[in-house]
Amino acid sequence: MTAQTDALPGEAATLPRPDAAPAPLWRGYRFELVKLLSQWRLRVVALVCWLGPGLVVAVISTATTLPTDTVFGRWMGQTGWAGSLVVLSFACAWVLPLLTSLVAGDVFAAEDRQGTWRHLLVAVRSPRRIFLAKALASLTVVLALVVGLAVSSVVGGLAAVGGRPLVGLDGQVLSPGHAAMSVMLAWAVVLAPTLAFSAVGLLGSVMFGRSPMGLLTPVALAFVLALAQLLPLPVLLRIALPSWSFLAWRGLFTEPAQIGPIVAGVVVDLVWALLAAVLAYAVFVRRDFTDPAYDGAGPRTVLSTLAPLAVLVAVSVAVLAAVTPTSGSGIDRPKLERSLATAYGHLYRLQTRELARPDVPEAQLNVGASCDKGGDLVEDAGPGNDWRCVVTWHIPGATAVGSAVYQLDATPDGRYVADGDGPQSVNGFFQVRTPTGDVPNPLWQFDGSVDLFTATTKG
């Protein structure tokens, strides 16, 4: 006879037994990890995350055409650190929400699909521990995938181009050590919105059950928020959205770093993560697992669950309005002029070094910028591709003042692309001739970033 029958006790078994204890959380966590990692789909995703970025960065970095429309893309051929930041930009747009969908958005729905809820409940005997184990396991897997993206892209870039200095978004040249630290911090910053999207994924997975809507919730949210970020929304509302940190990390690459928007975005993300997780937990523990007709939460539950998230956005806007001096779009003429002049000064010195000319301190250059948006009839504020700026500086050893023209395309997130309009010898051509050959002209086109959190000046 088997062990089962051998183990059957006799009459002593008729005594009332104590209630069975729930399985410890760490065992449930391990069980969830085993289930997640046994899925071939996730294994493929993990492989792609750990190998794909490195290969892509290595190939693109050595190509003649670089993704100049992506921030740091124009520097991919110059330094290996830029490749990781390009991957980060791309990941923030779609990859990270998609990863949270595939993992967190499916972790509860998979049990519905496989019909294993009742089995799991009987085995674990604690909905609370099941929820925590699933949440922790899915976050662990998401974290591992994000780390894979970061490590792979850095390794690919360094292997293909090397760890040379990186030019920041204010034209400042970052040493390899500084660049490495900033790249790591940038990836760390986006963990916060990834956490928020993961929590939203858990919420969708709990609410919609086996419906594809559960799986798609983070991606749908990312799509809606990406659309919102394209609109001319007030900067306070923009920062109050959980996708803001997907853009805010760029502030790490200016001097001084734009810490305010980053901190605000991270705090908003953490609150979103907490609230979405609490809502998901509340929906989960109220579910009746014996109800044969259950097919996801009803419309009333869905609406009452989403309402607190909408309230959170409103509260975030109110708090940000109270603690920050910014208003409107966060982009105005003085900010752009300051940012452009600073970037130009740094990049002018870079160009000077490339041309093997004597270095000039920025104090001597005394760079200034004068910008106008769309002519006299348009207010000089807000995003748009109709900014035209004239940069002036003092040429060392000469009484004349140099000037260069730029067309600026400023986007609502504070990023701008400065496109040089001449003179050709300064910023009108994409290459400059150096003693060692032609190299990309750092003053021809460059990316910049406006700190949206500083006070906006009217007029």
Partner: protein, 335 residues
């Protein structure tokens, strides 16, 4: 020592919105017995099994499992195992991995996984992914998973679904051994042959109410007239005698029956009537070579609940569905 019931339920009511799944269910399941739940779809079998597994609590009524009252979900004594709505298995894991994961969840250091797999006849496919398993194999693996916890109360929802003959034999053997070892088994099934072979007691549910609860033999005695196939050494004499017996009715020949055996005839009557008929046949020197119910008493009772008059093949069960437990009599039958 006094042996108490493994399950004692009184006045259990459970609703899902406007749908009343269980409506005043009383049930006792003794230790060491295999208890069958029979009823049409929607009768409340799975809901009742779910309550026994602790997946939910009743809206009202009292439930005791292994001597302890169940007052909140999942607060059950150790030793309750089983599944409802199919065994919960993870298709991306192998059979062994499923059991290992489950055992590690419980922290069981001596899970006896190989024994469990062997018991249900799945040793050969232990390292195959469950994704490729047939329904019957999944059922057997689900049973193996339940056995890992060495249950004192095993709750199984349709465990015979998809089982082939060998699988059925494995499952019967396992459940029989468990009951012999003192454990109780509660199982629902639509396969009356399984229930008849395995169960010492059955409960018939209809519309959330128990319309019969007791031993199968008692159900046979209470079931009234059912159809029998009678084969004798002299078919014509048997037909004449049956037709002259007032409490026995000779039914029109069934094509299938005639193809199988031209000497056989179908008769309908109660157990007592058939006893009388057999005595008279023997008295006339007609050898009775076979006398067996066309459908089992359990199936006849079930069909009476769910089928048409033609399906029933008899005068029906002792009561009709829809009667409340208030009408319950001492013999466990609603009248």
């Amino acid at each position: 020592m006094q042996i108490g019931p493994a399950v004692r339920a009184r006045g259990i009511v459970k609703s899902f919105g406007a749908v009343i799944a269980l409506d005043g269910v009383d049930i006792d399941i003794a230790e060491g017995h295999v208890h069958g739940l029979v009823g049409p779809n929607g009768a409340g079998k799975t809901t009742l099994l779910g309550l026994l597994l602790g997946l939910a609590v009743a809206d009202s009524g009292t439930l005791e499992v292994l001597g302890r009252p169940v007052r909140r979900a999942l607060a059950l004594p150790d030793g309750v195992a089983g599944f409802v709505d199919g065994p919960g298995l993870y298709p991306s894991l192998t059979a062994r991995q499923n059991l290992v994961a489950l055992a590690s969840l419980r922290g069981d250091r001596k899970p006896g996984i190989d024994d469990a797999l062997d018991t249900v006849g799945l040793t050969d496919v232990a390292d195959d992914r469950v994704r490729g398993f047939s329904l019957g194999m999944r059922q057997r693996l689900g049973l193996a998973a339940a056995l890992l916890s060495r249950p004192r109360l095993l709750v199984l929802d349709e465990p015979a679904n998809g089982l082939d003959a060998a699988g059925t034999r494995h499952v019967h053997r396992v459940l029989g051994r468990l009951a012999a070892g003192g454990a109780s088994v509660v199982m629902s099934s639509h396969r009356m042959d399984d229930l008849t072979a395995l169960c010492t007691e059955v409960s018939l549910l209809a519309s959330g109410r128990v319309v019969f609860s007791g031993p199968v033999s008692k159900l046979a005695a209470e079931t009234g007239a059912i159809d029998y196939r009678l084969r004798t050494s002299d078919g014509a004499a048997a037909r004449r005698l049956a037709e002259s017996t007032p409490t026995v009715r000779v039914l029109p020949d069934d094509d299938l029956l005639q193809r199988q055996d031209a000497q056989a005839l179908l008769v309908r009557g109660s157990v007592a009537s058939l006893d009388d008929l057999v005595a008279r046949l023997v008295g006339l020197g007609v050898a009775v070579r076979e006398l067996c119910p066309v459908v089992s008493p359990l199936e006849a009772a079930y069909l009476a609940l769910t089928g048409t008059e033609e399906d029933r093949g008899g005068d029906g069960p002792p009561s009709s569905p829809g009667q409340g437990s208030d009408d319950r009599t001492d013999d466990g039958i609603n009248r």
